[in-house]
Subunit: 172 residues, 2 copies
């Protein structure tokens, strides 16, 4: 079955955005394992805000792979050609996608979608690129989880810039 | 000069307590480098709540070193014999203590004191015992920092239980 992988950059204090929505602190100077990660996935899950942010970009960031996009929103009525809008029955729809043939799925965020999928126990792996800074305020990676979630640390990778990548599997 | 070291257990989502103040998730099965850490310090900084919590314990946790205790509180009128109460002029008082002869100082918390000392740029090192779980809600390690704080990763240690210890120096 295809895995859902949350792969995201965080500050050491567990925030994904600064107080004004900033993500300019994310290191861009090297690959940080992303090109290997991109080989594993062929689909992207994102919430409405992430979708709208990416729509606002003139082109995809360099090295960004061609991915089948799934947009989760209760308010959008349509999404761009080729993308799939999921408005309801999240659990059923996501389980159907996971059972389809294909590579793994990149859960891109944001916090609301991530929290929903975590609470439905649909996420298989979490890979955090922990940046060496404290943002001190801003948006946490998760909003409210229903329960504690135990994790299994499966990999760590330290880079010369002080970024450390931590990969966990979710225990089922 | 003596260093102030924030050494604390956190969940992967950057929380130091669960939604009801729980810290039962902190691993107790092995030393996790604490006895080496205890050799480095001879003093303890803590806020009022941490002080009151420790006062409520019948005895110190096993292996807990003998430390000079400094309690930071604007509301307490006195503290136990041997301990020092700091009510105001935090920056001046802390700088004085840092300049005294002695080993390093353990900044124990809580979030309010930690945030104050971080904002005053008095903390020298942060060592987080990142536990392999998501608490999903509760108390963040820091409340509101005034500015972003860049860090320098100086050490990582991974344990068989999935706990990873991350040590950073604060750039001055």
């Amino acid at each position: 079955m295809r895995k859902i992988i949350l792969e995201v950059a965080v500050s050491l204090d567990g925030l994904i955005e600064g107080p004004k929505g900033e993500y300019d602190w994310c290191f861009q100077d090297q690959d940080y394992g992303l090109s290997d990660f991109f080989k594993r996935v062929d689909a992207l899950f994102m919430g409405r805000k992430s979708y709208e942010m990416m729509q606002g970009m003139s082109e995809a960031p360099a090295g960004f792979p061609k991915l089948k996009e799934y947009v989760f929103s209760t308010t959008l009525e349509k999404v761009k050609e080729g993308a799939v809008l999921i408005k309801k029955n999240i659990k059923k729809e996501v389980e159907k996608i996971k059972n389809e043939k294909g590579k793994d799925i990149w859960l891109f965020g944001g916090a609301g979608l991530t929290t929903s999928l975590m609470n439905l126990k649909l996420v298989d792996e979490i890979s955090l690129a922990v940046h060496p800074l404290l943002l001190g305020g801003g948006k946490p990676l998760f909003s409210e989880l229903t329960d504690r979630i135990p994790l299994k640390l499966v990999d760590t990778k330290t880079y010369s810039t002080g970024l450390i990548s931590l990969t966990y599997h979710l225990e089922k």
